[in-house]
């Protein structure tokens, strides 16, 4: 079927931006497959071990923008040993060898080395954008290589990475000829920064729209930088500490008044609350505000600030805002779409000032809310039922009760009915995280109602294998399932092994699954890698099939067991 020349097909395909659409198009017929293959520039690989770099390059030879994800999500919470894997070097090496014209690289939870960054910087002449999220393994020397060699760099975005700061002059490595920066985010770096080099860099990049500073940039430097870049749209302040009775602070006030384009703010890594009024004029235009790294601001001061933020669509905040503060958010921020409330005490010792009351208030006040991450002291079924009724548009709903198995404090019942109401009401729900006291019943509800669910996180929940089976049988679109400390065993794991080829991955730790069960699964499903991660009992590896498996991670793959697995990972 070839009614059109290839160029026309290619032009039409250009309008397809989603990966799923392009994947679908490539299945229609051979000639569409060919055209699509040679015109695909943006590729997303959700699990770096599902495919090899060589096969990717063969499949999409003109790839220019690559997204790769490495470690399982629970690695964020220290459940995955440090050297588990997720190395990006082989990918960079393979693309360099094949002369791929790589321009953009976006990595999440991967191990990135200085050698990798150096190779990247030298190999891809048109490289424009590097985004690293929750990565590790590199130092500021690697960043220096990128700064020095990527002549057309537009974006360097470092989000929550563990970077060893060599206190070098990486910022000074941007040559004077570099004027192309649009986005620079180094908020996660812990060390000193050459302020002069920073100011000169900002001065020569007229297209700079997004700038996020680290803690080492003091308030007076911020003021000078803002004078040089009044066109900024996204600002992350560094250290926001100063004596408000000074010339510098007054200058800052008038500088902020000139920054009419700022729509998004973050940072405030250290704060003098008395200096917050300087940003009030900006607040009225803000659509996104992240104060979740600012522990020094009290509830009352937060409330004063929120009163100015009527256009907010995204708010990330600490629980010291309290239920009362969330009430103010509810009555002020009518456009709110995404809310994240983080614990100010991440060690969970329990000073949380938010309960279900804050969430209920938000649900009444913010009907556009569709994405939630909420750490709280407690939740009731009644509250969840109310929230479900008020906000049927949730696509992401993550609730974390700090005491992981806490029942409804009023009725002492499990929270099955509450979460059941959420899944029944929110027909577009794609991501769900549960907590609190939960029985198999909540999984029955999820299996019945959560038709669009793609990712589910379970901890300390359920009574029997039935729970997990309800989910596996019911959620047809499930892609990622991660379970910890729940009583699901071999029966749940093995009843429908074909299901795992329809999913990206399954994580189970501290459950009832045994080594024998995992072996059966691995035998039946050759295109699934079943990894047993066993940090401690290496000597007893593989001797007793009845032994419970501490950590199991399985994922579909086209390339068999990986060759870079460390000694404590056993692929069955």
């Amino acid at each position: 079927m070839n009614y059109f020349p290839d160029e026309v097909l290619e032009h039409v395909f250009d309008f397809l931006t989603s990966h799923r659409d392009r994947n679908a198009v490539s299945l229609v017929c051979k000639s569409w497959f060919k055209v699509e293959k040679w015109s695909r520039h943006r590729v997303f690989v959700g699990n770096c071990y599902a495919i090899s770099p060589e096969r990717l390059i063969a499949r999409f030879p003109r790839v220019r923008a690559l997204t790769l994800k490495g470690k399982p999500h629970f690695a964020d919470f220290n459940l995955v040993p440090h050297d588990w894997g997720g190395f990006v070097y082989p990918w960079i090496e393979a693309m360099a060898k094949s002369n791929i014209g790589l321009e953009e690289l976006r990595l999440k939870r991967m191990v990135v080395s200085n050698e990798g960054l150096e190779l990247l910087a030298r190999s891809f002449v048109n490289f424009k954008s590097l985004v690293l999220i929750s990565c590790e393994g590199f130092t500021t020397d690697g960043l220096a290589a990128v700064a020095a060699n990527c002549r057309f760099l537009r974006e360097l975005d470092l989000q929550e990475n563990e970077v060893e700061d060599r206190k070098g002059q990486w910022l000074s490595c941007f040559p004077d000829s570099c004027t192309s920066l649009v986005s620079l985010n180094f908020a996660c770096l812990k060390g000193e920064v050459n302020l002069t080099a920073l100011e000169r860099l900002v001065a020569r990049c007229p297209n700079l729209k997004s700038l996020r500073l680290n803690r080492a940039v003091p308030l007076d430097a911020l003021q000078r930088i803002l004078m040089l870049a009044p066109q900024l749209e996204d600002l992350g302040t560094g250290s926001y500490v100063h004596d408000p009775d000074t010339e510098t602070y007054n200058k800052l006030i008038s500088t902020f008044q000139k920054c009419r384009s700022i729509r998004s703010m973050s940072g405030f890594l250290e704060v003098s609350p008395l200096c917050l009024p300087a940003i009030y004029p900006i607040c009225s235009n803000l659509t996104s505000l992240n104060l979740s790294y600012a522990p020094g601001i009290h509830g009352d001061e937060l409330i004063k600030l929120i009163h100015h933020c009527r256009k907010l669509q995204r708010l990330w905040i600490l629980d010291c805002i309290g239920d009362k503060g969330l009430g103010v958010v509810a009555s002020t921020c009518k456009e709110l779409q995404e809310l994240r409330v983080f614990p100010s005490d991440p060690f969970g010792v329990g000073n949380a000032a938010v309960t279900e009351k804050g969430l209920v208030a938000i649900s009444f006040g913010c009907p556009k809310l569709h994405s939630l991450l909420y750490f709280c002291q407690q939740v009731t079924n009644a509250a969840l039922i109310t929230v479900a009724k008020n906000c049927p548009n949730f696509t992401r709903f993550r609730l974390c009760i700090l005491d992981a198995t806490k029942a409804d404090p009023v009725t002492m019942q499990p929270l099955d009915e509450g979460f059941g109401a959420i899944v029944q009401s929110c027909k577009d729900l794609r991501r769900l995280s549960l907590s609190g006291l939960l029985t198999d019943r909540v999984f029955l509800y999820i299996g019945m109602y959560a038709e669009q669910l793609e990712m589910l996180s379970i901890a300390f929940a359920g009574d029997s294998d039935k729970g997990m089976l309800y989910v596996l049988n019911g959620c047809k679109k499930l892609r990622k399932l991660e379970i910890r400390d729940s009583p699901f065993g071999n029966e749940a794991l093995l009843t429908d092994v074909g299901k795992y080829e329809t999913m990206r991955s399954l994580w189970m730790s501290s459950c009832e699954v045994t080594l024998g069960g995992c072996k059966v699964l691995a035998e039946k499903m050759p295109r699934i890698n079943v990894e047993i991660i066993n940090e401690y009992d290496q000597m007893e590896f593989g001797f007793d099939d009845r032994q419970k498996v501490d950590k199991m991670f399985l994922y579909r793959t086209l390339v068999g067991p990986r060759k870079d697995a460390p000694h404590f990972v056993w692929t069955l």
Partner: protein, 199 residues
């Protein structure tokens, strides 16, 4: 655990109740008793005890008053609450300081070749502190009196306060002393005796 029937009536939970049977069938049995003890899932250390304690007493609207009792110190569960390590590492330094609360101070003695350091938080009051200093530097501090300072000794324990002034140890209440003391110096000889006469 009894059901809170009163609470259910107030909220008319029936109207929003989820029902799983076919239309027209009876209500399915609603409660499994909260299986705090019978569940066969791996129990969290110390966590289950909290939910049953003391919350039955009130159905008050002010949820906060129920939580006044300080939670029993919980064992830290790995990876819970699920907060990214990066975020935890940003909050950590403050916490350790508050937790440890040590107050290390330099102590010098006139004529001694080097200084020592002590942790003021270890002592509950002046007698303990003075005894420790006596043992550390092998001297005797004599008898304290408000009027005359330290009698019967060549030495006088002094400290530098927040304003930079040298004060005699023992004049102010212990708590005030701890919060204002920056360093200690054990004065000797004529200088020491001079303190009493200066008024």
């Amino acid at each position: 655990m009894e059901n809170k029937v009163i609470y259910e009536k107030d909220l008319n939970l029936e109207a929003t109740e989820l029902r799983l049977g076919l239309p027209g069938t009876k209500k399915p049995e609603k409660q499994a008793p909260p299986s705090l003890k019978t569940s066969n899932k791996r129990a969290l250390p110390d966590m289950n005890e909290e939910s049953g304690s003391g919350n039955n007493s009130s159905v008050s609207d002010d949820g906060k008053s129920d939580r006044e009792t300080a939670p029993a110190p919980k064992a830290q569960v790995v990876g819970w609450p699920p907060v990214r390590s990066f975020r935890k590492s940003c909050f950590q330094p403050k916490k350790t300081e508050a937790e440890e609360g040590r107050v290390y101070l330099k102590v010098s003695m006139d004529g001694a070749p080097y200084l020592r350091k002590i942790d003021l938080k270890v002592y509950k009051g002046y007698p303990e502190l003075l005894k420790a200093l006596e043992e550390m530097f092998k001297f005797s501090v004599g008898q304290y009196s408000e009027r005359e300072g330290y009698n019967g000794s060549e030495y006088a324990p002094t400290y530098e306060d927040k304003d930079g002034d040298w004060m005699l140890v023992g004049d102010v209440p212990w708590d005030m002393f701890i919060s204002s003391c920056k360093r200690l110096r054990i004065m000797k000889g004529s200088e020491a005796r001079g303190l009493g006469c200066f008024l």
